[in-house]
């Protein structure tokens, strides 16, 4: 605890905690469990829709992708209509920014080690229409996709201790026509990282649904469309 402050902030915060304890009304663990279970059912539905979009359009499969995967009975997902082109001045790729999203250029090149946030200067940042955000970075990489994914997963485990050490799912995805992998991390929200290696450069695109993920999944679907629109520098 603090060792150098003569004003006793610990005591002040302690009084705050006591005060709030006296007037706060806990909603109960049971309510949290019930909400979590209901939300889990909804998220599985959204994830299944996303999986179908990825598999159907990027990998070339149609219809059912597995023996027991049924399209969930969710409401229709609105597709973004007008998209603007974005060319990364730092990393060189071009993509179509979903309608309603905003994009901001990175101001520094990523060194491949620095921990990244959506606010980091090393990332090209894309902000969705709800609380979702996305960012993209790249670094030189002379080995293959599998080796980069292994490296990335190990790096994520070191730098994100509150997330699982490994992604819950890895599935193929096409990024600008190049084979890639989509890693799904069940952090406190479902984080997607799409990775590909092209001409000696590893690119990754992260999707974070934000604190309150859109239950209709529209931003997530927009992210997947954005991946397919990527064009790499020649």
């Amino acid at each position: 605890m603090p060792e150098h402050d003569s004003f006793d902030l610990d005591a002040a915060f302690g009084r705050l905690e006591q005060d709030i304890a006296g007037i706060s009304a806990p909603r109960g663990a049971g309510a949290a469990i019930t909400t979590a279970r209901r939300r889990r059912q909804t998220r599985w539905g959204v994830a299944a829709v996303a999986a179908l979009v990825v598999a159907g359009s990027a990998v070339g499969l149609h219809g059912r992708t597995g023996s027991d995967v049924e399209p969930p009975p969710t409401r229709p997902i609105p597709a973004p209509a007008v998209r603007q082109s974005f060319t990364s001045t730092t990393y060189g790729y071009t993509l179509k920014v979903p309608a309603g999203w905003t994009a901001a250029q990175a101001s520094e090149r990523w060194d491949g080690r620095t921990v990244l946030l959506s606010e980091s200067p090393e990332v090209d940042r894309f902000t969705g229409t709800t609380t979702a955000n996305s960012f993209a970075v790249a670094r030189s990489w002379r080995r293959g996709l599998a080796a980069y994914v292994t490296s990335l997963v190990a790096w994520q485990a070191r730098t994100h201790p509150y997330c699982p050490s490994k992604p819950a799912l890895e599935k193929p995805v096409a990024i600008g026509g190049s084979p890639g992998l989509l890693l799904e991390y069940n952090c406190d929200v479902l984080i997607n990282i799409a990775v590909t290696v092209k001409d000696g450069v590893a690119y990754w695109f992260l999707f974070d649904p934000g604190n309150e993920p859109a239950l209709d999944g529209s931003d997530h679907v927009a992210f997947l469309r954005m991946l397919r629109s990527v064009e790499f520098p020649r």
């Binding site: 902030l9 915060f13 705050l16 709030i20 109960g28 949290a32």
Partner: protein
């Protein structure tokens, strides 16, 4: 209830007040703080098997609750406000004046400093823990704490030598 749910319920009861206090210190609104705290527990339940093995699973919940509180506060600051229907929780007595003064002072600080102070002094995080969770160097956390304290003390009527001018 199964054992796991019983354990989670006991954990909830034991840690709720500090969790909601952390969110309140960041947000300054009790109803919103309770929402943020409840949301943190909702996120904790699906990973309870893993969290239960932590030395202090309450730290995870406090961290998530304060992050949620910051996110909510940030959204309210930048987005269109349409909160009028909700209003304050019914029949909740107001916090006492010292609590109100502390929260009002905290809200005058930059977000990063406020968050560092709350995580350190109330949530019980070490500088290293905050650096990890905030994904920044320890020196940055120390600087935020020092600047936050320096800014907070006069706002609370204190003086650099530790004297206070009100309770």
């Amino acid at each position: 209830m199964g054992t796991s749910q019983d354990d989670f319920a006991a954990f909830y009861d034991a840690t709720w007040r500090r969790t909601v206090a952390c969110a309140y210190a960041v947000l300054g609104d009790l109803g919103a703080a309770e929402e943020a705290a409840q949301e943190a527990y909702t996120k904790a339940w699906p990973r309870w098997t893993k969290l239960a093995s932590y030395d202090d699973p309450g730290a995870w919940v406090r961290q998530v609750a304060t992050r949620g509180a910051i996110s909510g506060w940030r959204r309210r600051r930048t987005a269109t406000r349409h909160l009028s229907a909700a209003g304050p929780p019914e029949s909740a007595p107001p916090p006492d004046e010292n609590t109100v003064a502390l929260v009002a002072a905290l809200k005058q600080l930059p977000e990063a400093q406020r968050r560092a102070l709350v995580l350190h002094h109330l949530a019980g995080f070490s500088v290293a823990d905050i650096a990890t969770s905030e994904r920044c160097p320890e020196g940055t956390v120390k600087a935020r704490l020092a600047r936050g304290r320096a800014a907070l003390v006069p706002l609370l009527g204190g003086t650099p030598n530790g004297e206070t001018t009100h309770a």
